[in-house]
């Protein structure tokens, strides 16, 4: 008697084509390239006003995506806006990672009271809404880019810090950190050279997701007028400035940067999810 049980799990043998992943990567690359090459590809200067052509619809000659209420070219502004819109969240993620890794590794390595103090401290920050913190900081230091980036970095630190702490505790319980100590290496060496690289993939996944959230938070601050000041512009401030035009039947000024935000965030979530997923798969294999 022969029983074939393959049918039960036949699906697992079929490789999935990750076209969604490639689309996300392509979108992110295009956005980064747009910011980098804005002076080369933008048809107009981002601040150049063309009052004769205010609220021109997409397709107007010289203005492929139309103009806003002061006649500034939407395409050029979106391309230039990519710079601040992408750099500022990058700053948030890098700063938060620096803080989070330092705190997380310190907590994991020292253990005991240090661990309790650092972990509880991060819990407190975690419980405090990031946007609210950023608004408070802006209220004190005034709007701009630096203050919101720093405030958001602080509020994102627990996401990274807790992850690093837990991963380092788990990884540190394996025998190899002890093996390196027996070989004469100091704790700092083992932590930085061996523990950190082994938890790096997890960090990259978390960083990618945090980048997306930071982008949305910063866009929201700009939209509220608490972020970048004119004439500098990011996608959030573009949406804010164009919202009155929506009621005048000219939604493109807000729609285009809005779609840029949406596309970037969705792509980041797809990429971050993929990195996280491949870590899980690797974990299952070993």
């Amino acid at each position: 008697m022969t029983v074939d049980l393959t049918a039960v799990r036949g699906r697992s043998f079929r490789a999935r084509r990750p076209w969604g992943l490639w689309a996300a990567v392509a979108f992110l690359a295009a956005a980064a390239l747009a910011g980098l090459c804005a002076p080369l590809v933008a048809p107009q200067a981002p601040g150049a006003t063309d009052l004769m052509n205010s609220l021109a619809p997409p397709g107007t000659p010289g203005h492929p995506l139309g103009t806003d209420s002061t006649g500034r070219d939407v395409l050029s502004r979106v391309l230039y806006g990519a710079r601040l819109s992408l750099l500022a969240p990058l700053g948030v993620v890098l700063l938060a990672s620096l803080l989070g890794i330092t705190l997380g590794l310190t907590a994991a390595r020292l253990g005991g009271w240090a661990d309790i103090v650092v972990s509880r401290g991060m819990d407190v920050v975690f419980a405090f809404p990031g946007l609210l913190l950023a608004m408070l900081v802006v209220a004190v230091f005034g709007p701009g880019v630096v203050a919101p980036v720093c405030a958001l970095a602080v509020s994102y630190t627990p996401f990274i810090g807790r992850l690093v702490r837990n991963a380092a505790v788990q990884e540190g319980a394996r025998p190899y950190p002890e093996a390196y100590r027996v070989m004469g290496f100091g704790g700092l060496w083992v932590t930085v050279r061996h523990l950190l690289p082994n938890i790096a993939p997890m960090l990259i996944a978390q960083g990618t997701l945090s980048f997306g959230y930071a982008l949305v938070d910063l866009a929201a601050l700009s939209y509220l007028g608490l972020g970048v000041r004119p004439p500098a512009a990011d996608w959030g401030s573009m949406i804010s400035q164009s919202q009155s035009a929506i009621l005048q039947g000219a939604p493109w000024g807000a729609l285009v940067p809005g779609l840029a935000v949406l596309g970037t965030v969705v792509s980041l979530i797809v990429v971050g999810g993929h990195i996280g997923g491949s870590i899980v798969k690797k974990g299952e294999r070993t």
Partner: protein
């Protein structure tokens, strides 16, 4: 195997068990033509190294096949044909007739439920009233040597040492009065002194109740000491069937002889263990013909031609063209 004549009292017979996994286009063979039987009240050893398929064989007796595996042959456990059996039949088999004891007792019990619940669960599932199930659980715990069973049933698994918890697991395995116990390395995770006590317990239960036991282990000394008959597995096939008494004193297959020579001994003169070249293989990695031939000092071209047929050699049945040709 010729030695495995079917008896009316057999609680487990395995005939020509073959198993393969992987996609149908490129199958991964796991087991090839495994034959064995366990009689009532008999302890049968299944000995081998990693990749030999000994655990797969034992689990097959309960209808536990790896996901996606294709299985052929015949496996009859406590009168039920396991291959192709429906869920209800397998559930009935596992609930009433056949029990399994695993290597790690902590993996075999639910860590957040009290030990008493673990023991009464199977009984309650059979419709035994609560009070009676509880009394039975207490009785079983006493039987397996747990002091103060009344306190023990209210404890959680983490409050027990490994050896004590394995006793609890064995009590659970016995709760349904099975005809067959499948013991998969049940003492490997335990200290030697605890191992002896657990073995003594299993042995006394076998004698009193006539339960048959398939005992899977990598420990030749243990198998030789407690088993009536021993099957030696290598790379998904049974290469030798012999008696427990002759396993160490008169091994016939070159692999069995190599294993005996490689095991350090506690008694006799202090001859150094003799290493075997290479590493244990699984069936998928094994060479054509005799799977052991790439590590066997006596192998020649004839061994590559076909998987050697089983032949008698003294009291043993051996799948080798030249049994006992390799010096011990």
């Amino acid at each position: 195997m010729s030695a495995a004549e079917h008896g009316p009292d057999d609680v487990l017979t395995v005939r020509g068990l073959r198993m393969e996994a992987g996609p149908p286009g490129s199958p991964v063979p796991l087991l090839d033509g495994v034959d064995l039987r366990v009689g009532r009240g008999e302890t049968v050893g299944l000995v081998g190294e990693s990749g030999s398929g000994k655990s797969l064989t034992a689990r097959a007796a309960l209808g536990l096949f790896p996901a996606g595996a294709r299985v052929s042959g015949a496996v009859t456990a406590a009168g039920t044909e396991v291959i192709g059996a429906d869920r209800a039949a397998l559930r009935g088999l596992r609930r009433h007739r056949v029990s399994m004891v695993f290597q790690d007792p902590r993996a075999a019990v639910n860590p957040v439920r009290r030990v008493g619940d673990h023991l009464t669960e199977a009984l309650r599932a059979r419709g035994v009233p609560r009070r009676e199930a509880r009394d039975r659980a207490l009785d079983l715990l006493e039987r397996v040597g747990i002091r103060d069973p009344r306190t023990a049933v209210r404890r959680f698994p983490h409050e027990f040492s490994g050896g004590m918890l394995q006793r609890v697991v064995i009590a659970g395995a016995l709760s349904t009065g099975p005809d067959l116990i499948l013991a998969d390395e049940p003492t490997t995770a335990l200290d030697v002194t605890t191992q002896a006590e657990v073995i003594a317990l299993l042995d006394s239960l076998r004698r009193e109740r006539g339960t048959g036991m398939l005992f899977v282990t990598h420990d030749l000394d243990l198998a030789a000491a407690i088993c009536d008959r021993v099957h030696v597995m290598y790379a998904g096939r049974i290469v030798e069937e012999t008696t427990g008494a002759e396993l160490l004193s008169a091994p016939a297959h070159p692999y069995t002889r190599a294993l005996v020579a490689a095991s350090p001994s506690l008694h006799g003169d202090r001859g150094a263990p003799v290493p075997v070249a290479g590493r244990p293989r699984s069936l998928a990695e094994a060479p054509s013909g005799c799977s052991f031939r790439d590590r066997c000092p006596a192998a020649d071209d004839a061994c590559a031609a076909a998987v050697p047929a089983v032949r008698r050699h003294g009291g043993a049945a051996v799948a080798c063209l030249r049994p006992a040709a390799v010096a011990l």
